[in-house]
Amino acid sequence: MKVSIDPALCQGQGRCFSIAPAIFDFDDLGNGVVIGDGTLNAESVALARLAQSNCPEHAIFIEES
């Protein structure tokens, strides 16, 4: 599974990188970015989902595979 942030939707609310700093980081403007290629393992998937369910802009997507 893979997580991504849609940069057109992200407004830098800052929830994802606070909730899951191992998965998300921020750029110079404070917008969220995914660390690495966003591949999730059994442990990180729950955290990524939690971040997703806290994003006020609905900008986080998790692709099942």
Binding site: Q11, Q13, L29, G30, C55
Partner: protein, 403 residues
């Protein structure tokens, strides 16, 4: 003081400065959400108030039909292209696309988590200093003796203003945010001292550039030219107005909550690890900031006939209590794990200071409950809530039970 008739029906005659709304708006919003859910008023020259999360989000994301030209509801509507369009009086909050993005991008790097998190030790020190002054007392006012000092201290340092001017900042903010009820011709002249003050600060920074946000704004170049002076001044005003009252209200509301909910206080004292969740729930439940938009052209919005230049009161706090968007929306759950609140707005105007505001709120509450581990509202003490679009307790008289 102007006297206005009290509101009898908020669905057809809402007024966010009516004492009922100021004291406790939540039951009003709940009723409107069920009955309307978009309320109307003829006051302030006419306006609308949507109460659901869906509608608030739709307005915030619709810059085609709504303009941010004026974001504070007053008795004075400016004409459409009045200068300083397109930036508006306080860019970027009063700017629309495409200018908005230019004005916003200038601010974002300074307010991103990197530079903001570096301020934590300074903010903590500021909190501790103010707590030292009230330490050991049985009765303290957590509003006027604590909460109100934190954000002016932080913002005036960022802007590079003399710290001794903080009382003046509070007056400026009061003028912009609270005195919205005054007739236009009484309100306008009150802005002169504020404009003078900022001009003097700008002159001083031009003569003596230093490492602060004011000098940064004066030096920044967009497309090869410096910002217009009214842009710089507008953004500085915005930092003060957006950065002070808002955060002070959030800190005050959090402490007020803890004073009135002893179990939550006890839990937060004993389980500091839940603080990040508590901060988000304070922000959701007591969201201090309501914004406004103006309707750009006649159109129908969720069945309501909106007219050009109508106000639209943008109730992020009301959206945060919508049961469709939140489980148990009317319950404060200190460790709520799923909390998609809109306290910092939604869409392109998302609060540029949200990283700073969160940090101040967390540190101010952490230090307060470290110093005072048990407290309640003092018997007979009056809690007054600020009127207008920024809501928070101004006085929070506490009886300290353990420190």
């Amino acid at each position: 003081m102007t006297t206005k008739p009290p509101v009898e029906d908020f669905a057809t005659d809402w007024d966010h400065t009516d004492p009922q709304w100021v004291n406790n708006p939540y039951p009003i919003w709940e009723e409107l959400r069920e009955r309307c859910p978009i309320a109307h008023t003829h006051r302030y020259g006419g306006g609308w108030f949507p109460t659901t999360h869906e509608m608030v989000s739709a307005v915030a994301n619709d810059t085609v039909h709504f303009t941010s030209r004026q974001v504070v509801v007053t008795n004075n509507k400016f004409p459409e292209f009045a200068p300083p369009a397109p930036m508006g009086g306080a860019p970027p909050i009063t700017s629309d696309p495409p200018f908005h993005q230019i004005a916003r991008r200038i601010m974002l790097p300074a307010l991103a988590p990197g530079p903001v998190n570096a301020l934590e030790p300074q903010i903590r020190e500021l909190c501790v200093q103010h707590l030292d002054e009230i330490a050991g007392r049985e009765f303290v006012d957590a509003g006027s003796e604590y909460a109100q000092f934190i954000s002016p201290g932080v913002i005036s340092r960022m802007l590079g203003f003399p710290p001794e001017d903080e009382d003046r900042f509070r007056d400026f903010v009061h003028l912009v945010l609270d005195l919205v009820d005054l007739p236009a011709e009484e309100r306008a002249p009150l802005f002169a001292p504020m404009a003078d003050y900022f001009s003097r600060q700008i002159d001083d920074h031009l003569a003596n550039p230093r490492d602060d946000f004011t000098s940064y704004l004066l030096g920044v170049e967009v497309g090869g030219s410096k910002l217009a002076p009214e842009h710089v001044r507008g953004t500085m005003v915005l930092m003060l107005v957006a950065g002070i009252d808002t955060t002070w209200s959030a800190i005050g509301a959090a402490i007020w909550h803890l004073a009135t909910h002893p179990k939550d206080l006890e839990r937060l004292v004993n389980e500091p690890a839940i603080m990040p969740l508590a901060v988000e729930e304070f922000l959701r439940f007591y969201a201090p900031v309501t914004m406004a938009r103006m309707v750009k052209e006649d159109f129908e919005f969720f069945g309501c006939p909106m007219k050009k230049d109508d106000w639209l009161l943008l109730g992020f706090p009301a959206a945060n209590r919508d049961p469709v968007a939140f489980d148990d929306a009317d319950r404060f759950i200190i460790d709520r794990a799923v909390n998609r609140h809109a306290a910092f707005g939604l869409g392109i105007h998302r609060c540029a200071g949200s990283n700073l505001a969160r940090l101040e709120l967390r540190v101010a509450v952490e230090e307060f409950i470290k110093r005072f581990t048990k407290f309640e509202l003092a018997a007979g003490g009056d809690v007054t809530w600020a009127q207008g679009q920024v809501r928070g307790p101004r006085q929070i008289p506490l009886h300290v039970l353990a420190s």
